[in-house]
């Protein structure tokens, strides 16, 4: 199975789990199309009250573990009031992203022993232009001896993401909109 197909399978399972929690879900790709980073962010940025989850399978790392990443610190640029520069769109959401990341990572660690306990910082290109709480979930690894093991992880990953996002909802609802003009 190709990595892109496996990731799409994870995404479809995550959608089902999230919908079961009452969330509306939109996938940034339906098949083997490959939208650009900015196209994917644009889809998320066009919605209100969104959280963004990008899924990956790595070539390294301890097999059977899952890591959550949030964007590393970068300063929000001074801009016209109410406007967020596209390439720094994630900056006002960093703290919310960290909270979401820790909640999802906590759920994943319960399912997949050996995974970190908290989300890690990384300069993930996909997260930079996303104006919403955003995390990257990376599964280790494509080099696992039995590829079916990776496919079997899908349900656990989907459920962990859904539970983490559900736990994040009241925090998100209670927080002021980052970057908004008072």
């Amino acid at each position: 199975m190709r990595e892109s197909e496996l990731v799409l399978e994870y995404a479809v399972q995550a959608r089902k789990s999230l919908e079961a929690q009452g969330f509306q879900v939109r996938l940034t790709r339906q098949g083997n199309d490959n939208p650009s980073f900015d196209d994917r962010s644009a889809m998320a940025n066009a919605q209100r009250g969104t959280v963004f989850v990008t899924l990956h399978v790595s070539s390294t790392g301890s097999p059977g573990t899952v890591r959550v990443y949030t964007m590393t610190d970068f300063p929000a640029a001074a801009s016209a009031p109410g406007l967020i520069p596209w390439d720094r769109a994630q900056a006002p959401f960093l703290e919310l992203s960290r909270q979401l990341g820790d909640l999802v990572q906590g759920q994943l660690t319960l399912q997949f022993k050996g995974s970190p306990r908290t989300a890690q910082p990384a300069s993930v290109r996909q997260l930079r232009a996303t104006a919403a709480p955003a995390i990257a979930v990376e599964v280790s690894s494509i080099l696992v001896e039995d590829p079916a093991e990776l496919a079997r992880m899908g349900t656990g990953i989907a459920n962990a993401i859904a539970r983490g996002v559900a736990a994040f909802r009241p925090i998100y609802d209670a927080s002021p909109v980052p970057g908004a003009v008072p």
């Binding site: 720094r88 306990r117 300069s123 290109r125 990376e138």
Partner: protein, 230 residues
């Protein structure tokens, strides 16, 4: 053609097909191996051409801290201290430590950068931005994934932080070009924060305190080098 000859010809053809089926994978492996060797020798030749100027053997050896992957396999870095006759010139010094980093640790499993990657050039701008220009192999040969790509950038940034305090920020180029990502994940359009401490003269570098200031290698949290936008 008599039936006997037809059988002989068909039998011969079948034998050829079987022989080809056996030989083809062997031939494919040989071609792939030859291609790899050719690529490695090209990279080796380029590495020899682009290596920093030979270090003056009379240069005093100083404690040098290099960051490779931790043997804990937890995605963190571990500091390794060696003594090298480093130049006082920050650009030469940066080339020396990065070439040593590229050469890799004794345990090759702990490499953070591909063995065939080459540092083509290193520039230091007056504002403290170090520009490291690597060969295509850095992007092409690194295992794809957020963890491995971040670890590569962290090992470069932290090795520079520990040994070349004049470098405040790091910009990574691939063959002279700005890339959007390293291998599909890590953002290379900005600069990585290397060192926020004030610059000091190379002859009086407090190398040990800088190295000690880095997080413990046994820490479970990989120290993602901070990143800032231009």
């Amino acid at each position: 053609m008599t039936p006997r000859w037809r059988r002989l010809v068909l039998g011969g053809l079948a034998a050829l097909v079987v022989a080809a089926a056996i030989y083809f994978p062997i031939l494919k492996r040989r071609v792939q191996r030859a291609a790899r060797l050719e690529q490695q020798s090209e990279e080796q030749a380029r590495r020899e051409l682009t290596l920093a100027a030979p270090v003056n053997p009379g240069q005093p050896r100083v404690k040098t801290t290099l960051f490779w992957a931790s043997s804990n396999e937890d995605g963190s870095l571990a500091a390794t201290n060696v003594e090298l006759p480093l130049s006082n010139d920050p650009v030469l010094r940066a080339k020396q430590v990065l070439n040593t980093l590229l050469a890799g640790p004794v345990d090759t499993e702990l490499r953070t950068l591909p063995p065939d990657a080459v540092l083509l050039e290193f520039y230091l701008l007056p504002d403290g931005t170090g520009i490291a220009d690597f060969s295509e192999a850095l992007a092409a040969s690194i295992p794809s994934g957020i963890q491995s790509e971040q670890l590569a950038a962290d090992s470069i940034a932290r090795t520079l932080e520990a040994n070349v305090p004049q470098v405040q920020r790091l910009k990574i180029l691939i063959h002279g070009q700005e890339m959007e990502t390293l291998a599909g994940h890590l953002d290379l359009t900005g600069t990585f924060v290397v060192n926020t401490k004030p610059t000091q003269a190379p002859g009086r570098l407090p190398l040990t305190p800088l190295a000690q200031a880095t997080p413990s290698p046994t820490s479970n949290a990989p120290s993602a080098a901070g990143k800032e936008r231009r």
